[in-house]
Structures are given as C-alpha cells and as structure tokens.
C-alpha cells in the first residue's frame, strides 16, 4: 500500500500528513490546496502579522466598530461561545497578557481593571461587526486558531474523498480520520515530555482530535518557572509541570479545552466538563511512569 506523507509549515508549526493509499499527484494537489486555505486563514487571524485582519481589529476596534466576515467572524463567535462554556477560563480578549507573565507585574492594575468588566461588556459582536469597549482588549485567538485550521484541513481531506488520514499539527494537535488501515482507530501514545521512553497515556483517535497543553521544558525555558497559561480570573499563570490532553470530535473544542482546563485546575474542571459530555480528558503528571 502506498503511503502519502507530506509536511508543510503553517502558523509557525510543522503540519504533517500521513494518508494511506493516496496517489502522490492527488496528494500534492490536496496539500497545495490546504496550504492556500491556511494562508488565507492566517492572513485573517495571525497576531504576528501586522497586516492581518485581526491585527487591524486589535489596533482599531477600541475606537470604532469594525466589520468582520468569514473566518474571523466565525473565530470571534466561537471565542464568545467558548468563553461562556468554560466559565470564563478561555478568554481571548486578554491577548495583551497571554503568554506574557512578565507583563503582569507591571500592568496588574490594568489587567484587574479589564477583567473586572463583564466579558459581554468588553467586546461587542453583533451584525458582523466587532467593537472593543475597553482599549486594553486585545484578541489572541490562541487554540481556536489552530483548531479552526485543523477543522478546515479535516473537511478538505474528507471532501477529497479520503476516508483515512492522520494529521499532526506540531504534535500538540493531532487528528485521526477514519480507521487505521490495520486497526480500528489511530493509537497515539502521549510521551513523557522530558524523558525518552515512558508513555504517560494512550488514546485512540477515530474521527477525533487530540490536543495537548502544558508546561514543557521548552515552555519553561522560554517563560521561566511561572509557566505561560493564564488564569483569566486571577491573573496568575499555571505553575505545574504536567500535561493535559483532551480528545474531542471538534478540533476547536479540543484545542480550547486543553488550555482552559489547565487554567481552571482540577477543582474547577467539572463545571466545564458538564457542558462537554463527549470529550475525554487526561491530566498527566511528569511524575508518572518515571
């Protein structure tokens, strides 16, 4: 059986495809189309691109209403929805502080001021127009962006008539479409983040996406021991060293929850999970299977 494999870079991450029984030429056509679609998505939602639509919104939506359509509207609508479903632990309006633990010390007062305003009053999204009610609001789509990208990819793969595929977005967002050719699902082992050998958990992916978040060694190197995942309610960052893995049918859901559940902590987990009866969650400690 021929196996099509390709990788491309998108959103600063390596995106890899393994598609059994797919002809090379058909695969290349598909990959090219996916690359175009992701480039289009990135041009809307990338906070790192000064010319992206979201960057323009972040610059101007504090002053006036900005029209939003297509990908970005979907993203904002999903962001608002997931904010409600995660009891506020997913909050994409705090982009000025996301992954910036160094800022909290100096700007804690502004952060407190912003988060004291109810979410629905911070951002207004209606009739395909967005307006920030507070100038410190900055949209950082975080996991939703990657989840939306995976959702687009998944649809394009299926639309191409492919019933089995395995797709990895940097190893932290992994989708299995259909069955493994020699088994009933795609079996993934989540490895110990810092040691070679131990597998902390195994999950099966049959039309499911696995998303993994946590404080890896690389994250700690970059952000220091205080971590980088923000608890929007307290302004503190997750300091643990474990991983959290979510398996869900919807890649956006998997991506959002893997971060939101870390921010929420085990004590607040259940109130979120009540909204998501079909997902599986694994909290994994670095101390396991050492």
């Amino acid at each position: 059986m021929s196996i099509f494999y390709r990788q491309l870079k998108s959103m600063g991450t390596r995106l890899e495809f393994v598609i059994p029984a797919l002809e090379e030429s058909a695969g290349l056509t598909l990959i090219r189309a996916i690359k175009d679609a992701l480039d289009e998505l990135v041009s809307h939602i990338s906070c790192y691109d000064r010319d992206s639509v979201i960057s323009r919104i972040n610059r101007d939506a504090g002053d006036r209403e900005i029209e939003v359509t297509g990908h970005l509207y979907n993203l904002l609508a999903e962001g608002v929805r997931y904010h409600a479903l995660t009891s506020g632990y997913y909050d994409f309006t705090l982009g000025g502080w996301t992954s910036r633990p160094d800022l909290i010390k100096d700007t804690g007062t502004r952060f407190a001021a912003l988060t004291s305003i109810p979410f629905s009053e911070r951002i207004s999204l209606k009739d395909h127009a967005v307006r920030f009610q507070q100038r410190d609001v900055r949209i950082d789509p975080g996991g939703i962006g990657k989840g939306m990208a995976m959702k687009i990819i998944e649809k394009m793969v299926r639309d191409a008539g492919i019933s089995r595929a395995f797709i990895s977005f940097g190893g932290s967002c992994v989708t299995g479409i259909g069955q493994h050719p020699y088994g009933d699902e795609w079996k993934v082992g989540i490895p110990h983040p810092e040691k070679e050998g131990p597998i902390l958990a195994e999950v099966g992916l049959y039309d499911r996406t696995l998303s993994i978040s946590g404080n890896s060694k690389n994250n700690r190197r970059k952000f220091g021991d205080q971590g980088h995942i923000l608890n929007p309610h307290t302004g503190t960052f997750f300091v643990g060293q474990g991983l959290l893995a979510v398996v869900a049918e919807d890649p956006v859901c998997a991506e959002v929850l893997s971060t939101a559940l870390i921010a929420a902590g085990p004590e607040n987990e259940q109130q979120i999970l009540d909204h998501f009866p079909d997902i599986t969650v694994h909290r994994l400690s670095n101390e396991q299977k050492n």
């Binding site: 395995f166 020699y182 082992g189 989540i190 490895p191 597998i199």
Partner: protein, 417 residues
C-alpha cells in the same frame, strides 16, 4: 501545462519565495520580471524546434511580452509541425542565416544539436541579437570561448539553458548553504541514471545521425554535454568555483548498437580546497534516477528531491514511526507530542523540505521569463553566461579525461570570464 491564466500566480509565488535580500540580489532579472509589461513586445526567432525547442516555444507563447515572429528548422517534419502551430503569425525558415538577415529580431532562442550551437550563437550575437542557447554551450573549449568572446564584444545577453539557476528550490538551497546550514561543503555527489536507449524513431536510415545526433561524436559529447553539464553547473554554483581537474572512466557496456558516445560514465572533479564532485551517469538502470547531494559536516541537501537532512537530527516526529508501521502492516501505538523517538537508521529520516511550496517547473519556465525580461530591459547578466561557460568547459574536461584516460586540468590558456 503552464498557461497564461496561472502565469501571474506562478510569478507572484516565485517573487514571494524569492523575497529575501540575498535571493533577490542573486536574481536581478526578478526586478525586470515584476515590472510592467512593455507596449512593444520582444521579437523572437526560434532556431531548432525539435522536442526541446518545441517545449521552449510553448513556454514563450505564454509570455505576453514575447512575440515569436520567426522559426527555423532544417528538418521538414519539425518545420511543418511548427508551421501548423504558429504559421499564422510567424515566418518559417530552413536556414537560420536567411532568418537573421530577413527578420528584424530582438533575440533568438537556439535549441539545435550541440555541434551547431557555436556558429549560430556567434552569428546571432554578431547580428546584434540577444541569445538564449540550450546547454551545453558547445563541443570544444575553443567554441565555448568564441561564444563568450562574441557576447563580450557585442555586449549582448547570452543565456545558456541551465534552468536550475532559475529554480527557486535551488536558490533557497544555495542561500541555506551560504548561511552555514550544512557547514562547509565537503563533498558533492551527483548522478543521472536512465534506463533507455536514448534513441528517437528514425523514419529513414540516412536520417539516423540527424535524428539521433546525441549518440555520435561528431555532434555531441553524449552524457557529459546532455546531462552531466547540468549537474556540474550546480556543483560549480554551490561551491562558487570551477574545477581544477578531473579524472574518470567511460565505456559502452550495454547499448552496443553502433553508438559512439559512452552509455555510462564515472568521474571525480576536484575543486580548490579539496572538495570533490563525484559524478556518474548511466542509461541501463533508473532505480536511483537523478540527484545532486550536497554534503557537509552538519547536514545534507538533496536538491532534486528538495529535501535537507540534519546530521544530528532533533528527535523525529512520531509520524515517521507511524509510516514505518503502515509500511510493515503494523497496528500499534505511536508516540506524538514529545521527544520520544529518534530514528536509529538515518535512511529512515525523511528530512525537511527545502521549500514548502510545490512549484511545477524545473526552472525552464522561469529562465524563459527571465530571458525575455532581460531582453526587454537590455540587462546583460554576465553571471548567467559565466555559469554556462564554466559548466560546459567542465563537461568537456570530463569527456577529455575519459577519452584520454588522463587527469585533465582546467585549460590554462582558456579565457577567464
């Protein structure tokens, strides 16, 4: 097929990929290409419309700035085929000299047998025309030098058809190598393997040498000028040097059908500093295809495949393990999301792509675009001529080394360009 409708996208993509300072500085023609189309098209004549000439003709027809106003071929079926295609707007000739005399051209594109390149190119340059000539330049050192001399005296553009110079993947690889990605280049290995007799159908025995000119000494140096010259050009380009000397062996060991050129060749070119190009080409096995492998202490580049490998790879993706499972019909768990698996066997390392984009051209399209843009702008890019010159001299050196069974040095008295 490269069509007008996707030409703009192709050029735009190429321009975006080439959008770094180093790459654009290596491709000044890009500026001309990205400019406005001219009100007056570049008037072109094409000389030699066999298979390669026809391919180039079809590319030129997609370039709005290029007007093919004349064609020439002294082989009737090729002439007729072209007349049917473009006879409505281009005049046909059997003799290129008549064409040069009668037509008011800006440039010619030459895709004749190798032994005719030199005379036609020199005549065209002396007529004040810009020239694109297929590789290799010519059959002898003297002919190559005379072509370069004519280019210099007339200050006209002379492109030699080494299309890898215009391939964005090669441009990126060159940039990566200059940036030290694989360390200093310590060896280049290149090969071109085919499994066919390299023959074209001959309608009548007296046409054998005219049609299958690649197989006879009077017209061609065989694998060296037809295939190796491309890859020697790549080695020269990557090393930014020309070879000091070459030794090698060639023979006919499979296609014993009356041909005169070798059907397999093996050579070692030595460059200043002791870097070698290890080269071979054959026509009786195609398993390994063609490749240029650039080797350094930190990594390897495979330019045809467009892949680079690190000598000390970071932990590889569990995806490679999954592929291995699928290839061996194994259903098992694969580790994803952490540094869990490092390939033991380097051959399992599938590497990283030099560029992410898939551009369906080996550089020929962009070279034709660049040639027309250069002509329009009157931009003489000496480096393109120099690359063709050095590659052709090196290919001839290799041929000499095999024929004489001697170590052959770069000809001391040859004009330096």
């Amino acid at each position: 097929m490269y069509m007008r409708t996707d030409r703009r996208d192709f050029i735009k993509t190429f321009g975006m990929l080439a959008g770094s300072g180093l790459m654009v500085s290596g491709m000044p023609w890009m500026q001309d290409l990205m400019g406005q189309e001219s009100a007056r098209p570049v008037k072109l004549g094409i000389i030699g419309v066999g298979s390669r000439g026809l391919y180039l003709l079809n590319i030129l027809r997609t370039i709005p700035d290029a007007a093919i106003v004349a064609y020439c071929d002294n082989y009737e079926p090729h002439y007729e085929r072209t007349r049917e295609m473009i006879g409505a707007f281009a005049r046909g000739y059997y003799d290129y000299r008549v064409m040069l005399e009668k037509e008011e051209l800006d440039a010619v594109v030459i895709a004749t047998p190798l032994n005719e390149h030199s005379a036609i190119t020199i005549d065209a340059l002396n007529a004040g025309l810009h020239v694109f000539c297929e590789k290799a330049m010519a059959q002898t050192y003297g002919e190559c030098a005379a072509m370069v001399e004519a280019q210099r005296l007339n200050d006209r553009i002379l492109h030699i058809g080494h299309q890898r110079l215009f391939n964005i993947r090669y441009q990126q690889a060159l940039k990566d190598i200059k940036n030290g990605l694989i360390g200093p280049v310590t060896q280049i290995r290149a090969y071109w393997h085919r499994n066919n007799d390299w023959r074209r159908p001959v309608p009548s025995p007296e046409l054998e040498r005219k049609i299958n000119w690649r197989l006879y000494d009077a017209y061609s140096l065989g694998l060296m000028t037809e295939l190796a010259s491309h890859q020697v050009q790549v080695a020269n380009w990557i090393l930014n040097e020309r070879p000091e000397c070459v030794w090698g062996a060639g023979s006919i060991n499979h296609w014993k059908d009356g041909r005169e050129v070798y059907d397999n060749v093996n050579l070692v070119y030595k460059y200043p500093g002791g870097t070698h190009l290890v080269y071979d080409s054959m026509t009786s096995n195609k398993k390994y295809g063609l490749e240029e492998q650039i080797l350094g202490p930190l990594g390897t580049m495979e330019l045809e495949a467009g892949v680079r490998y690190e000598e000390f790879p970071k932990p590889a993706s569990g995806l490679l393990q999954l592929i291995n499972h699928l290839e061996h019909k194994v259903f098992d768990v694969v580790p994803i999301g952490g540094p869990s698996w490092v390939p033991d066997d380097p051959s399992e390392d599938r590497g990283e792509y030099i560029i992410d984009e898939v551009l369906e051209s080996d550089g020929s399209i962009m070279q034709m675009e660049a040639f027309v843009a250069n002509v329009r702008a009157g931009r003489v890019e000496k480096w393109i001529t120099r690359e063709g010159y050095h590659a052709s001299i090196a290919a001839i050196m290799g041929h000499e080394a095999m024929k004489r069974n001697e170590l052959v040095f770069w000809p001391e008295d040859l004009m330096i360009y």
